[in-house]
Symmetry: C2
């Protein structure tokens, strides 16, 4: 990296600090074809924490039949749970919650769909059946003192239905909020959102009583739009942004293999804007370069590629 770049020029209309919710070890690895040894996953989580990420989603307690890549959750979690960072785990139902609680997880995430087609494809249920399914999970988690994040997929477009009406997304987001999820992560699972759409959805959510402080954004870079959508969300006041180290993880429903917003590309922008994240970009890039070697393929992150090339 050329010293002193990016140059920092703040924009006073943007937040002073952003919390990055790092999903590479869970959302990233669950969509990678290469089998990754448990010890490597644990080392990945450790390095992400050491790079300054304060929230590292660690693994998933979904049934191994559905997510074989993360079937080692029971072995992995004890290896990382004492790290001094937030370590949410994905949980689909009460059985998953039991497993997470038994291991000492302090935060969970549940997942719902904004569209009927994806609820059917992903969970073989209607949207409302899926909500009903995990309502007791959320309730029990809260009673146990856990933080609960709700992921919502297909908030902007759906591969079967096309554009997703904003009121539909608002309805499901509200249901998740009322169920007790303290954070709501709006997923653009197929990467089709654009900035006006982002602003409109956030405004509609506010009008429906969901405050911006409870909203996180989760953009995919399938069409190269993730970072400009993030900028639009920041301008609206969003301060929690999901990203995946090295851009790990494609979306199985968008075959072009470009998936999550790369954490490095996000940190480059936030560093330039003088927005605090606590992340050391050089350490993070080195971690993603190391993980790319484990996976045997180059990182799709533009920043990782640019910085690695110069080394």
């Amino acid at each position: 990296m050329t010293t002193g770049l990016p140059m920092t020029v703040a924009d006073p209309s943007l937040p002073a600090r952003v919390r990055i919710h790092e999903v590479g070890a869970r959302d990233g690895l669950q969509n990678e074809k290469t089998a990754v040894p448990t010890a490597v996953k644990a080392e990945f989580v450790r390095r992400l924490a050491a790079a300054g990420l304060d929230t590292v989603e660690a693994t998933s307690f979904v049934h191994p039949k559905w997510v074989p890549q993360l079937a080692d959750a029971e072995e992995l979690f004890p290896l990382v749970r004492d790290l001094p960072v937030r370590l949410p785990v994905l949980v689909p139902n009460e059985r998953g919650l039991d497993r997470a609680l038994a291991l000492g997880a302090r935060e969970i995430a549940v997942f719902a769909s904004a569209t009927e087609s994806f609820a059917k494809a992903n969970l073989n249920r209607t949207v409302d059946e899926a909500l009903a399914l995990f309502a007791p999970t959320v309730t029990r988690a809260i009673e146990a003192g856990l933080k609960v994040r709700g992921y919502l997929s297909m908030c902007f477009g759906d591969p079967w239905e096309g554009a997703v009406p904003i009121e539909q997304v608002v309805r499901v987001t509200k249901a998740l909020a009322e169920m007790g999820c303290d954070e709501l992560s709006l997923g653009d699972t197929i990467g089709v959102a654009t900035p006006g759409h982002v602003q409109a959805l956030l405004t509609a959510l506010n009008e429906a009583g969901v405050p911006t402080s409870r909203i996180a954004v989760h953009f995919h870079d399938t069409y190269g739009q993730a970072l400009s959508n993030t900028l639009a969300a920041l301008r609206h006041g969003v301060t929690t942004v999901d990203a995946s180290a090295g851009g790990l993880g494609g979306c199985p429903y968008a075959k072009s293999a470009t998936g999550n917003l790369a954490t490095e590309d996000l940190v480059w922008m936030l560093d330039g804007l003088g927005i605090e994240t606590g992340v050391d970009l050089a350490a993070l890039t080195a971690t993603s370069g190391w993980m790319a070697e484990q996976l045997g393929r180059p990182s799709p992150s533009r920043t990782v590629r640019a910085l690695s090339h110069k080394e």
Copy 2:
């Protein structure tokens, strides 16, 4: 493409129309290693025009010794000059202007550097010597009734100097404007800009008397920042954006091979924002897919990859 995507949600604070200055056939091809036959280049320009781009930079009259990829400018230009679109050509000096005038060019572009290091590397001159060199070229072009665009490289960062002071960029931009360039294209040649920096430079230029209406932005996607920087520029009122079909062209001074903002990624965002460009995204994507086949490598454009994969 899933029908109806991206969903259009306008942002009234952004311009209603943007002119895309398509640089793929010049800036793109001059940085590609593969030799492209003249007939293929002409077909590329024709297809870009047919896809609705109204400004297609066609070729360069720089000495073939420096840009061998475009040594066929004399053969190419007559093949495309009757297309009903703007066809600027790059011209480095009076000799180049003579060649362009002889072929009936109606628009030229000259190029300068915001930094001494790049002026030295690219032109073997100081910044001021370079400006003095092409001042007579600009004057003669204007007298001949041509439109003249001034490219300015390294407006945000420089591989040797790091961050480039805004006042330095303002000084050279003003010199180009006073020389008679009617349009000033601000190049982030190594792709390091971030949105606050973009806004600050545009504001400083306005304060120095350069109106936004004369400014174009030329972002590189080296660190994945091109589109969010473009959004920042649009928010400032910029309505001319440079982009390269399929993301063609790396920057020889940033070896990671990711170069210009891909026109398709830009059009996806502008379509979603309801900003008129006149471009047919499907036709443009098909053109870039065809050109990628000619070059024997996949397009670096995320949108081209995503849309091609579904076909």
